[in-house]
Symmetry: C2
């Protein structure tokens, strides 16, 4: 974040000074924005930069404990510099958040400079290899030239000028969210590779008295846990790839034509899709963990690490609810346009259709596998939910509720429409990708089954939604559940190949349960030899506690 921020917000003079130092590792930088008391709501940030026109310096301060910078990556122990976001104050007047270049530590001995307290915030669920840091500032003076002045300037006599908000600063935030949908795919394919391979290695119980112990992957319940997660993992791949392509097109338009036309749409869907991905990721990895039984609880299974990582994705770069509401607000604007006769384009194009004209396309059980029909069903459900919450908002406001009360009363419904919209995008992307694939008919066939399963399972998980919007009826819902179960049998023969196709080397998989050769039990036994607990045959705790306990010494002391 340090270098892109300099590139974006520094003047040419500033760039000429700091960029070569940063790119040659002469200084090590971070980006310090989030505070202990404020993350999402940037206007609430409290760190101050007060201009002193006598010395031509900014004085940086942390007014309260809650205003400490808290979370920036590599801030705690590694960085020598930071771009610090602080509220600019000139002559007692606040000018909102601005970026300042701050040297944190001496370049001679890495000791923090006067007025600066910096350190590590402590252990986390995972990601402990990153020294997320805190920063307290007490009257730290920096030259006027250390404010990054590309878009706003303070003159030596304290005059403030600004070229106004710059849309371009949103693009990198969008990019991070776009990338995160791919990270979720990467994480989930690790978990599902482990769970499916191990389920082929593990044998348990008997189905019939005479038969052998089957692979646990042959049980319908195990398939029902894992194959939808497998389908989600593929769905995430195609969605994420398509999202990245759209992002690239948008950046081309910005660079070549200076056109920000696509920004609102891409910003909106990248928010919701980052949210939905993180949810599918956590839920999926959690299922993979439990599907591996007791051994999935071991660290060497590798799934708890993946789960910890995915927990960060739900929260980082826009908490789940916050990003869903971003998407939902955009959808409210789109439906408002439609209601005054405009035609909307992009992912919410389906809003141009009047749901009155919809009738469920499923006439037979086999129709439940028709991807065109399934796409229509998803579009209709999202369309109905969006219109329903828009009309409820309207009614609340017309009945006299202040705007913010009306919004708060419909907040959960707004999250629900964002989810419905993003689930629609995923089904549409998966379908379009499978149809346009240039590969063997066999591969297309199995990917089609996965796509069908992804769609049907999403309907089953949200059966209420689909029935309440009359996108499917009672009879159709029954067919959908039957077809969903039949797909499990169809996918079973290819299940292991479908995770092998991710082509993860054992070293990158990092799981003894998911090793390619299936030699799980031998490796679990081997792992005990590297366990620090086993470095002494008799553990020191024996001498300290157990021996005194058994000899009665400990009891006589009591």
């Amino acid at each position: 974040m340090f270098i892109p921020t300099l590139e974006r917000l520094a003047t040419e003079t500033q760039k000429a000074k700091w960029l070569p130092l940063a790119t040659n590792f002469k200084i090590l930088g971070t980006y310090a924005q989030t505070e202990m008391g404020h993350g999402t709501y940037l206007q609430g940030l409290e760190t101050t930069a007060t201009y002193d026109h006598v010395t031509e310096e900014f004085i940086l301060n942390t007014p309260h404990k809650s205003s400490m910078k808290w979370w920036p990556g590599s801030l705690g122990k590694s960085s020598t510099h930071a771009v610090v976001q602080a509220v600019l104050i000139i002559n007692g007047k606040k000018y909102g958040m601005h970026p300042f270049m701050l040297q944190l530590t001496s370049l001679d001995n890495h000791m923090p400079l006067p007025g600066i307290e910096v350190g590590d915030i402590g252990p986390k669920m995972t990601l402990d290899y990153n020294d997320n840091g805190f920063l307290l500032l007490k009257n730290v003076r920096i030259p006027r030239q250390h404010m990054l002045m590309k878009h706003a300037q303070v003159s030596s006599d304290g005059k403030y000028t600004s070229s106004g908000p710059n849309k371009a600063i949103y693009a990198p935030m969008v990019l991070v969210r776009v990338k995160m949908t791919k990270w979720v795919h990467d994480a989930l394919r690790q978990a599902i590779t482990t769970a499916i391979r191990y389920s082929a290695v593990r044998h348990q119980s008997k189905m019939s008295d005479s038969g052998p112990e089957p692979q646990v992957l042959d049980y319908q319940t195990q398939q029902y846990k894992l194959f939808p997660v497998l389908a989600d993992t593929y769905a995430l791949f195609f969605m994420s790839r398509n999202l990245r392509r759209q992002y690239n097109r948008m950046m081309d338009e910005i660079r070549n034509k200076g056109s920000y036309k696509m920004l609102a749409e891409i910003h909106s869907i990248s928010c919701g899709l980052k949210g939905l991905s993180s949810k599918l990721g956590i839920d999926g990895a959690s299922i993979c963990r439990t599907a591996c039984g007791g051994h999935g609880y071991l660290k060497v299974a590798g799934i708890s690490e993946v789960l910890g990582l995915l927990h960060s994705v739900v929260t980082a770069e826009g908490e789940y609810t916050v990003v869903c509401l971003q998407t939902a607000r955009y959808l409210m604007k789109q439906i408002a346009k439609v209601s005054v006769g405009e035609v909307v384009t992009g992912s919410s194009e389906y809003l141009n259709v009047d749901p009155q004209s919809y009738s469920c396309p499923l006439q037979t059980p086999a129709d439940c596998l028709n991807l065109t029909f399934l796409c229509d069903i998803f579009r209709n459900r999202a369309n109905c939910l969006i219109r329903s919450v828009a009309s409820r908002l309207q009614i609340d406001i017309e009945s006299g509720a202040p705007q913010h009360i009306a919004m708060n009363n419909n907040l959960q419904s707004l999250v629900r429409v964002a989810e419905a919209h993003c689930e629609t995008i995923m089904v549409l992307d998966f379908t379009a990708s499978v149809i346009s694939l240039r590969t063997s008919p066999e591969t297309i066939k199995v990917l089609t089954s996965l796509c069908q399963l992804h769609a049907l399972h999403t309907i089953v998980k949200n059966a209420g939604d689909f029935m309440e919007t009359e996108s499917v009826g009672l009879e159709q819902m029954k067919w959908i559940r039957e077809q969903e179960l039949k797909l499990l049998e169809i996918i079973r023969p290819d299940a292991v190949a479908l995770v092998d196709a991710f082509d993860l080397h054992d070293d990158s998989l990092g799981s003894l349960l998911g090793v390619y050769d299936g030699n799980v039990y031998e490796r679990l036994y081997e792992s005990t030899k590297y366990n620090p607990m086993n470095q002494n045959v008799v553990h020191p705790s024996y001498y300290k506690y157990l021996k005194p306990l058994m000899s009665g010494e400990m009891i006589s002391k009591l």
Copy 2:
């Protein structure tokens, strides 16, 4: 497990020898049953105990790596003795699993005895304070008298006698599951206390331009995350208390009248309720984690530890799917009885009712808060689902499918009926408990709201089920969603008091976000002083990596 097993399975002579040693800590014991390759399926256990009538000894062996004992608690480094479950073999004939007393280590120096390899299985998601162990046996000889012979005996000349299966051995397994439902309540109340208190401390964004930053607990979306978890936590309390009372009644009947009449019912519901509890626990704690935003990701938030613990409950003492299927099989027996005109009692009493006679009792939106009506709705949904899967099983078998194929084809539906049955029990228990409480009207009022929310939220989560079984219609489902949201507002003023009522001292809560005095930010800052990463102002990694990098040494080496 060691002492109860001796009490249950040892002869009087054996008890007289070993129990005083165990209760006086002269020996430290564990119970070694689970193997690396087999947990749930006890008939698959592979450890052997072969009788040698010449020396009157059993020879214990671990035939394969997969037959290693793996998971027993305190086995790795602490225990001196173990009751080992092994397949008894006499003259080449296998007699199934039997318990054997085995000395693991020398009582002089704690060194493992010849032929015994024992150690710790390695780090886990959490619970690392327990040395879950492994055990490999190679021709370990123990005297004939070390087989626990209360229910089966081997004479000196190798004659096997058995008094047949003993129902009493199931009771302790039931007890552990009963207790686990309480553990889930205990764990979840920690997570929800932290999340609700912190949501009252944390302020974020603005609802209106003029207002202050509200507590995040005032946002409908935050309430929608946390209040259903709060309601589940109370529901778990009442269910678990009632389950324990039923267990105690059963034990009284066994002890006083020798009657095992209640065992099938209590075994069945304790299985499913343990499963459902663990699911509510993981889902709830995961929601609490994300509801605390970034800070919830810190270890000092305490929720990741709770989440890790709850992950063990899903798997231990019967994996989720396995225990649900136990419950479902019992329900299939119950409905079979009903279908031949018998009247069933206990938790599945509702099966006596013909669903044809049901009509949805909700006539107005306000009816959605009528607990009697809600109980009826839950009963009808479970009744319909159970009958539906029973009839599908019947059809599959009549159409020629072998029993085990028919079962496997309906396995997921069987899990679903177990869930529906247990959700019904929880709503019924909560309702009955609230009605019978002797406390102030104010307390009953707020607990009634929680009970309503628990029921309505469970319906919303399973909206498909309730509509597909026609337990509620389209219009009613809309009312239910509206009433669910209204309950959030009703509960809001009491939310903090409802977690304070759990009365958890800060020391047992173990969360800096959930401290009673709400002084969160100050304490987060304080916690950095105890962080080992901050013990040196300049971290050693600076000298090892950063300094050479910045000076160019590292690059010139490349």
